[in-house]
């Protein structure tokens, strides 16, 4: 028994990344020596695969489907702007800052859509669906400012802020159904119960995105990471401050003003930001930004 204990101890010391392989080696040996039963070995092997409990356990593909439904609800409330050149330009800037984020690869890729409304707002659904309103674009003065706005949305997705707004009870309900089911597809009654939990989760995210807004701490965190991602991509993170300063002088009315902390509070939280080295390509960025915004 001491040998088995020694092997298991070694496995435990071997580090998290290798825990799985080491644990299986140890339990395999202990079982072959008759030191533990088959069921005990299985139990030990399964113990590191804990049952799913909360939003952190939502899978990549589940995040994608929740994000699609949230995006579908946003697009039910706001009309998409049918301007191919403008949307394509935003897509280039989005992929550039997402590529410099800590989540460049996402299940279905990163996508952006301009919304045809004068409301000043930007939103992102889980799974990499980013929205920017025409009203906000009319207040942006450079590609660097646009990159910072999009990087703020990338940060919300990257840090899974949307998923964290889903009430635990919805996930408990869904995970309980999933935890018992092993078949490839679901029976109608299971689909019905899963869809109910899914719809509740989507409502939770939409409610925070459109109505209540994320917590102040999540917004400040998104600003901090936006500055980091923008700088890593080669943009000046101070452009986030110049954009917020412009908003500060506007009368607050709905949209972003309702769902975010005040521009003054965000500016105070951001503090001093280091610009990227050099000033290469700014003339080309100014030209293409002006060209892309001409249609607004």
């Amino acid at each position: 028994m001491r040998r088995a204990a020694a092997v298991l101890l070694a496995a435990a010391l071997a580090g998290c990344a290798s825990m799985d392989a080491a644990m299986r080696t140890a339990t395999g040996y202990a079982q072959s020596q008759g030191l533990i039963s088959e069921s005990q070995a299985e139990s030990l092997n399964k113990s590191e695969t804990a049952l799913r409990r909360g939003s952190q356990d939502i899978s990549e593909s589940e995040e994608y489907y929740i994000g699609r439904a949230v995006a579908a609800q946003i697009l039910a409330r706001y009309r998409p702007l049918d301007d191919r050149d403008l949307n394509d330009y935003l897509q280039e800037v989005l992929q550039t800052v997402a590529g410099a984020s800590d989540r460049p690869a996402i299940y279905g890729g990163w996508h952006v859509q301009v919304l045809d409304t004068e409301e000043v707002n930007a939103m992102s659904a889980p799974g990499g669906f980013v929205f920017v309103t025409k009203g906000l674009l009319e207040r942006v003065r450079s590609e660097d400012e646009l990159a910072c706005v999009l990087a703020h949305e990338v940060a919300h997705v990257s840090k899974k802020h949307g998923l964290k707004t889903i009430k635990a009870a919805r996930l408990t309900q869904a995970f309980a159904i999933l935890g018992r089911e092993a078949a490839k597809s679901y029976a109608p009654e299971q689909v019905s119960r899963l869809t109910e939990a899914f719809g509740g989760a989507v409502d939770d995210v939409v409610d925070d995105l459109v109505v209540k807004g994320y917590s102040r701490s999540k917004e400040y965190e998104a600003d901090r990471f936006a500055a980091e991602y923008a700088r890593a991509a080669g943009y000046d993170p101070n452009a986030l401050k110049s954009f917020l300063k412009r908003l500060e002088s506007e009368p607050a009315r709905g949209g972003l003003f309702k769902t975010h902390p005040s521009p003054a509070a965000r500016l105070a939280e951001l503090g001093r930001l280091e610009p990227p080295p050099g000033d290469v390509g700014s003339a080309a960025r100014a030209r293409r930004f002006a060209a892309a915004m001409r249609s607004l």
Partner: protein, 156 residues
């Protein structure tokens, strides 16, 4: 003798663990991702890896796993052990990663049921949005022209 055997086993398990920390089997968890020549997001792609593909890899180092074919970003993969049987089924207590590979959990079947009950949800507009993408070559041109990080250095 017994002490020696236990010590050998102890060392063996520790050695297995130590080597596994740098050499792991990684599984792709996104629909597709590029395998790159260098550990940089805009380095030339040498191949495309798809959902469920497995690779022996070292790392991650600065966010990148090194495989025999090239580099894959850690956000595209899991290094956890994942088990999905040939019929695509996973057992009770499946991990999030296993559900993604099996296409289970909140999936297309659930989306269809949700869409049927929410006719206002504009999935057509979502599909149009999801088709919008920029190729690697176009993104590199965009970065070079704008003097951005991805367009600098040796990413050719």
């Amino acid at each position: 003798m017994r002490k020696t055997k236990a010590a050998v086993l102890l060392l063996l398990a520790a050695a297995l663990g130590a080597s596994a920390a740098v050499a792991a089997t990684i599984t792709v968890l996104v629909r597709e991702t590029r395998i790159r020549r260098r550990p940089q997001f805009y380095a030339p792609a040498v191949a495309t890896a798809r959902l469920g593909e497995k690779f022996d890899a070292e790392g991650p180092e600065n966010g990148w796993y090194k495989t025999a074919r090239g580099y894959i970003h850690e956000s595209a993969v899991t290094a956890k052990r994942v088990r999905v049987d040939s019929a695509g089924s996973v057992g009770g207590g499946a991990s999030a990663e296993e559900l993604t590979l099996a296409g289970k959990g909140f999936n297309a079947q659930v989306e269809s049921a949700y869409a049927a009950g929410h006719p206002n949800a504009d999935y057509r507009a979502v599909d149009a949005m999801a088709r919008r993408t920029v190729s690697d070559a176009e993104l590199l041109r965009f970065a070079r022209e704008g003097g951005l990080a991805a367009g600098r250095g040796e990413d050719r």
